[in-house]
């Protein structure tokens, strides 16, 4: 039987299709549409409260949209959640973890829940903990509850990577991560996309997105203001930050403002 679906190489790795969500009369996402081609890294940037986390939450199945759809490799997240989530690795921002487990226990639990064979889980978990420099904490039996914010990000990232997904969605992965670990993280993400994987990261840090990603989307007030390759979005602007400020608007600090700080 012939499939009516387009060939797999044409299908976007992650597609957000007119996602809309209203919280208490505030439109957190207003028809957010994005298509992330396979093998690329997209940076989703926007000011605080722009709707980045809301949009990504709807895209990965954590928050049901009021309307719109989301697809992972062509599989609808909301009509076939199991199929869509198998190929997806997610790192949300600021949520809890099973706090009373060590990192090793958490990964062992996660591997079994994901249906991975135990030997494979153990090998991958040991390697991830070593690369992310969590192996010492694991040796000391430190529980996730006792982790610092940066360490929490790293163990969250390990859970996103353990089952070797094809698409990674990471909300603020660099926040609170030290510079050395940030380099490791960048290397991991580069290797992942070189191998054909797709990454979406959200961030406030323009320089980071500019240096790291090949595609960028600017979102503000729940709407996508620009989307495309880095050079398409940047156009004639010198930096991404200039483009961002031009599109989102910026409040300049006037000469007389906050004068008391100099006293």
């Amino acid at each position: 039987m012939e499939s009516a679906e387009p060939s797999t190489s044409d299908v976007a790795a992650l597609e957000l299709d007119a996602l809309t969500k209203t919280f208490n009369e505030t439109r957190a996402a207003d028809g957010v549409s994005l298509a992330v081609p396979r093998g690329t890294m997209l940076g989703l940037v926007g000011p605080n409260g722009a709707g980045k986390t809301t949009s990504l939450s709807m895209a990965v199945g954590l928050l049901r949209p009021d309307s719109g759809a989301a697809r992972v490799l062509g599989v609808d997240v909301w009509t076939d959640p199991v199929g869509a989530k198998r190929n997806l690795g997610v790192l949300p921002d600021g949520l809890s973890l099973p706090e009373r487990l060590t990192a090793g226990e958490l990964l062992d639990h996660w591997g079994r829940l994901r249906g991975l064979e135990r030997g494979l889980t153990r090998t991958r978990a040991r390697e991830l903990l070593q690369v992310l420099e969590l192996d010492r904490a694991e040796r000391d039996g430190v529980l996730v509850a006792e982790y610092s914010t940066g360490m929490r990000k790293k163990i969250g990232l390990a859970t996103a990577l353990l089952h070797a997904p094809e698409v990674l969605v990471l909300d603020e992965p660099y926040e609170a991560v030290d510079p050395v670990s940030a380099r490791v993280l960048t290397a991991i993400l580069r290797r992942f996309t070189d191998g054909g994987g797709t990454v979406v990261i959200s961030s406030h840090v323009m320089a980071l997105v500019e240096q790291l990603t090949d595609r960028v989307s600017i979102i503000a007030d729940g709407r996508v203001l620009a989307d495309g390759t880095l050079s398409e979005v940047r156009g004639t602007d010198a930096t991404l930050e200039d483009t961002f400020v031009r599109l989102v608007g910026a409040r300049e600090v006037g000469e007389g403002d906050l004068a008391w700080l100099n006293s």
Binding site: F23, K85, L95, L107, D108, W110, E138, G141
Partner: protein, 552 residues
Amino acid sequence: MVELLIRLKFTLGRHTRSGTRWLTVLLLVGGTAFTWFLAVAAASDAVRSSLLMLALAVWAGSWILGPTVTNGVGVLRSQYFTLLPLDRNRVGLGLLVTMFVGFGPVMTLVSAAALAWHAYVSDPATLFLGLLGVLTLVVFSVSLGRLVFRGLGAAMHSRLGMEIASLQWGLIVAGLFFGWVAVQPAFVASGNLTERGFEGTAASVLAVLPTSWPVLAVDAATAGSWSAAFAWLGAFALLTVVTVLVTGRLLAPSVSTRGVGRRSRPLGSRVLEDRRSLLPDTPLGAVVGKELRSWWRDPWRGLELRSALYAGLFIGLLGLVADFPQVMPFAGVFAALIMGMGGSNMYGHDGTALWLTVVGQDRDTIRADVRGRQIAIAVLIAPPATLLSAAAIVASGQYWAVPHVLACLLVFTGVSNGLASLLSVVTVTPGVDPHKRVDANDTGDVQVQVWIMLLAVPLLSSPTLAVLVWGAIQGIPWIAVPVALFNGVPAAWLLGRVAHRRLESRLPETLTRIRYGKEIARRSLSTAGGGLLDRLERGALATNEEIKPTGS
């Protein structure tokens, strides 16, 4: 600073909606009216004195219980002020002062004023002693309430502290459920309260309590012994000062690290070292392993588990003390029942960690998540509850109770296990997210769950209970044991099935409830109608208090 803190308290209070405020108001007004009724209707000075001692002890007891039983008292959290360049102890005392502003303290003052009335009626010359006593009583009661509450919170940072808190909490729960057994003989012996007051042991126990000392001071002055009067009041004032200072110290912002102090690796944590695992390599095995570790290591979960066992033990002992030894063999049964209530908000305990279940969703994972939790609580409660009852039966020699206890254990463990899993899903109520918890009741309000459990467990166990009664009358009590098995096990299975199907159909909505709070969760439900589960969920949203700041 105090004025600012009070204003902040009111501002925060305005943004917090409470479903049970009217009940608190009703209890306070009723309590005040009853206190004054006792004071006015007492037949003599001596009777009024003993009744006042009881009333004042109950008021202080309510201040101890209130903040822990209800939720949301920690409106002004001391950690908000950690970074301010203020003396920590001054902040602590300032926070304590804010506790005196509100309807509760005012009604306590009005009630305590019955002591001034007692003084005036006994001998007008003792009125000033009575007035001093009134003020000291209010300061003592309110401070003591905060002391116990924060003491419980501080205890959550060490294993030993958690054990003591469990003991304390177990005693409170036992008192709530079975306190009447202990008090009842005193009431029976007293006959008409306002005619005769208290006599015997009850009276001497009451007289020892610190809240009775101001009453004793007034009584001593009325009898002409002014030195004794000043001694009683002075002792009480001294105790009050100590309570205030200790409470201020406990309320001061803490800058110590969080987490339970530990010297060695947690038990069972060498999972990556190629050891054999007892649990199967499946999602169900994964959940059981995670749950058993969490129940064992998390002080907040440990408190639920241990306090249930202590409560069972204390209920048994209360029965023994109150000459009601038939209660004792059922200690384990009560522990199993109370543990069921402790497990009725498991997803609330986990907080936003539910995201892992959402993104890791596969064909069998949701069912495994619910079933794994059921297995974990059954493994944790059934053996110790059975042991507790077995020990109680051997110690009391009440071997007649064996079939009854066995039947009750089987049916209650099964029914409450199933109900706990269902309520954990449908009436999930988040507390403070796990990695930010400080106080003992930061895990989320469970009043709806507790009430439903109290009504539904006997109802769903009624086939067994009916056969138990019939069998006892017929002299064949053992017949109830197989019935309990066929009642309890299917109940656990069936309710668990309803639970995982509900979770599967409302998985993101359940996470939304935990992550964004009740206002946003309410939008995912129709405002009326729907099935029983929808109604239950709406009931919990309307009643259980929110102690989590909303937003992501």
